[in-house]
Amino acid sequence: MTHEIVHRPYPRGRNRNSPRTRAVAIEGRCGEGRRVQALMAAFCAFLVFLFLMFANAAHADEASVRAIISKFADAEGFSQVEKVIDELAATGDPLAVRTLNALNDGKLQVKRGGTVYIEENGKFLDPITGEPVDGADTSGLDKVKIKNSLRRTISAALSGMTLMAKDPAIRSQAASTIFDSSDASQLEALEKALAAETVPSIREQMEEAKASIQLFNSNDPAEVSTALGTIKARGNRAALALLSKYAASADGELKEQADAAISSVEETLSMWEAGQNVWYGISLGSVLFLAAIGLAITFGVMGVINMAHGEMVMLGAYTTFVVQELIRTSAPGLFEYSLLIALPMAFLVAGGVGLLMERSIIRFLYGRPLETLLATWGVSLILQQAVRTIFGPTNREVGNPDWMSGAFTLGEMSLTWNRVWIVCFSLAMFVALQFVLKKTYFGLQMRAVTQNRRMASSMAIRTPWVDAMTFALGSGIAGLAGVALSQIDNVSPNLGQSYIIDSFMVVVFGGVGNLWGTLIGAFTLGIANKFLEPYAGAVLGKILVLVFIILFIQRRPRGLFAQKGRAVEA
């Protein structure tokens, strides 16, 4: 048994003379017992379980854990810190969990001579109990430095200790860590946890983790074969990684079986990949749509070539930054709501600037579309430089609230929350805008003015007011887009510039004066781009899309959703 472990294909760079080896040996014996006799395993698990219960209740072992923890204080360099972690791992004692978590988060403070605290929000806590320490000696404390390889050691150690944690999420996390690492030293803990686990899905995960360990540590071909089957059934990237790793060192029938499993998993994955690509396309499309929708109003409906459109988006993003700064300094508790607060603010700021622009510049230029292009380009330069002067040329940090961070999986597709919300947001905006245009009095006035200005004004519609409001609406919507884009892109003075050309392409491609066109156009371009990217690369893909648009405009000079008939030709 120990023999096998020494011959693990990837010893993971750990010193074999470290205390870990001892732990492994103990587990090995336990593991052997399990294979010799299933009952023995249960007994073994039961014994340890009892022991742990006892230990927890009586804190009998607290002293020894504390003794190990205090060694952090005098550990010099990464290798010694690692040794201490290994020692803690060897105890398998959940008492060490708090300390290890703190170490992982860089919150463990030490001083020579055995002083160890956890620092949290300026308070110094006991490394085991987590109780604030009265009269803590805080002078000369140093943070224990860690690095990636230590983080891996820590999470491996933690996985063994947290397999029986109360929180099912933590147990699941622990099981999947073991699955990825195939760490044989966790087998014993795993077996115990498996015996006690009641949640079926976590049980399954633990079985898979066990299979992962068996795959690399078992001598029994039948067992390895079963393990291969279990892992194949899991069918995700992590499984593929294990299988490839195994196949690289296996031979004979098992290798064949592994190869078959690999191709089966790959097949599943490639199907998911197509779905993933569609999703990426949709999400890119939603970004394009957000960038373009304000323009669909100012350019598409009003015919104003607003080159400062990108800067309206930028203003929205900077408004988000300012809102978050205010929240950080005055009401940190509201951070999760910062985007919701920023939305109306961004609408008002960008809309206000748009209103100002319309009243002071654009209204003098109606009917001279090419001149508005120049004047608004001038406005865009001024806004850019103004932002650069006020906020500085460097990127500003706009944080993601928790609900905008991370990802969830749908089958084997991974969907990031920020993209999901942005897709939802863009669709919501589309619906809202359609509502405003089609169902409100203002929308009616707006359509009346754009279709027949003279007639509208003779029907007592204040056309200048409608113009101003329409432009402000388009700008405000660009500001809203800025809030969303601040979540995925740089917030810098150049933000607007990077979207302006794409926005025009979307509006022109979709067909001017048609929100549906903008929507379909944006998503079409987004998906086309994402399907081209794997074959042509990001740059060439984008060039191809541009060339496509140029040629498309030749075929349909008025875009995807052009109005036909003689009215538009007049």
Partner: protein, 432 residues
């Protein structure tokens, strides 16, 4: 008709007279230093900081009594991220403003653009940014890292300390990533990494949609071998890249990313919480625990009036370069470029990481190489450093066409690209 032409000619002449009169009469009382960094356009984001750093250094030097008994005077111009304008402004600095040395440029293309100007007018350029190497000019001093002072040690670290066997080389499509990746590819292959274990990917400037590439990296990393990403992604594209990494849950423990263009300044625009543990290789980190650095940071924050402003590697490069120039001028007793070029080789000044950096005959400098991990507070923590200083190598040993080239600007060789195989100085005849 004729009178009109005459009057416009007179106007033209007046214009000339006015422009030449604008050169101050007391030009002899100060030593002028040119600062050639973009203050507007796409590169302002990085370069404005360097302009401020230079102004601070000049200010400090003046407080110490200036140079050769004269005050230093900074001449700031804005080449506006426009490459031909870099050349034009360089010419203006040297010819019209008569500066003694120029500190500036960030991108390779801006350096390439001004190069002929510095050669033609025989002036000095101190270039503070890590770059692709493959260049050694008599009039240019490269105070940033050459590939062997950044890229190769970083790869060594990943290979030895993290056990990485599979490599993604991701970069923006321009010359620095192209060259660096080529060197790395050759280096990795020399170390026995197989072709299929290297993935190279290029993206355009300002690329903002990283979904596909990040998921490709994830897929590439699931082949059962430890995988790392070596990123030469430039400036603006980094923020969305790291955001996507964080969101797709690529943790540093699983697939670490080591970047050569991401410093404290770039991280200032990011929530670094999800990025803890990703790496960067530089010759300086703000977190360097030395007295000189503490002093530098204090002066910088006071100068800029913002407690939150960070320092970064190119700033240190300017710090070193400027002090080297000062020392060389003092040694030569004049600001004459030829004298300074002769005097500066061998000059050694303290750097901010607790050692000394020296100007080598190939006009590159010696530097320590640090590998740092991103922390939650936007700083780096050094996890590894070279035991000694690394000499900047102008010509890479891993590229077939440059491995025989060496550079030595001392007499008698006086050549930036001497081919040791043929025993000839290649290209243009060296300046005398």
């Amino acid at each position: 008709m004729f009178t009109k032409a005459k009057s416009s000619m007179a106007a033209f002449a007046t214009l000339l007279a006015v422009s030449s009169a604008s050169v101050p009469a007391n030009a002899e009382d100060t030593i002028k230093v040119g600062i050639l960094h973009s203050l507007s356009g796409t590169m302002a984001i990085s370069e404005t900081t360097l302009k401020d750093a230079m102004l601070m250094l000049i200010d400090e030097q003046n407080k110490k009594g200036g140079l050769l008994g004269k005050q230093l005077e900074a001449v700031v111009v804005d080449p506006a991220s426009d490459w031909p304008l870099f050349a034009e402004k360089a010419r203006e600095l040297i010819s019209a403003d008569q500066v003694s040395a120029v500190f500036g440029c960030w991108t390779s293309v801006s350096r390439k653009s001004v190069l002929p100007v510095f050669k033609e007018l025989n002036s000095l350029l101190f270039y503070p940014v890590q770059y692709e190497g493959e260049e050694s000019e008599r009039n240019v001093f490269y105070t940033g890292a050459a590939p062997n002072q950044q890229a190769i040690p970083a790869v060594d670290y990943l290979m030895n300390e993290e056990g990485v066997e599979r490599w993604v080389l991701a970069g923006t499509d321009y010359v620095y990533p192209r060259t660096t990746n080529k060197i790395l590819e050759a280096y990795l292959k020399a170390k026995g990494v197989a072709e299929e274990d290297i993935m190279i990917n290029y993206t355009p400037f300002g690329h903002s949609d990283w979904q596909t590439i990040v998921s490709d990296i994830k897929a590439f990393g699931s082949a059962g071998k430890k995988t790392a990403v070596v990123s030469t992604i430039n400036g603006d594209a980094n923020v969305p890249f790291y955001k996507e990494l964080g969101n797709q849950g690529i943790k540093a423990e699983d697939i670490p990313v080591v970047a050569f263009s991401v410093g404290e300044e770039e991280l200032a625009g990011l929530d670094t919480g999800p990025l803890v543990g990703h790496l960067a290789a530089w010759n300086y980190f703000q977190s360097a625990d030395t007295e000189a650095n503490a002093e530098f940071i204090k002066t910088w924050k006071a100068y800029i009036g913002d407690e939150k402003r960070v320092t970064n590697d190119p700033m240190e490069a300017h710090y070193i370069g400027f002090n080297m120039w000062v020392k060389a001028v003092e040694k030569a007793g004049t600001t004459d470029p030829d004298a300074v070029i002769d005097a500066i080789v061998g000059v050694s000044v303290p750097n901010l990481t607790g050692g000394y950096s020296a100007m080598m005959p190939n006009h590159h400098i010696t530097k320590p190489v640090l590998i740092g991990e991103i922390q939650a507070d936007g700083q780096f923590e050094t996890v590894w450093e070279t035991s000694g200083l690394v000499v900047g190598d102008a010509w890479s040993d891993y590229l077939p066409d440059s491995k025989d080239l060496i550079s030595d600007w001392r007499k008698p060789m006086n050549c930036g690209n001497f081919n040791t195989a043929s025993g000839k100085c290649l290209g243009s005849t060296p300046a005398n």
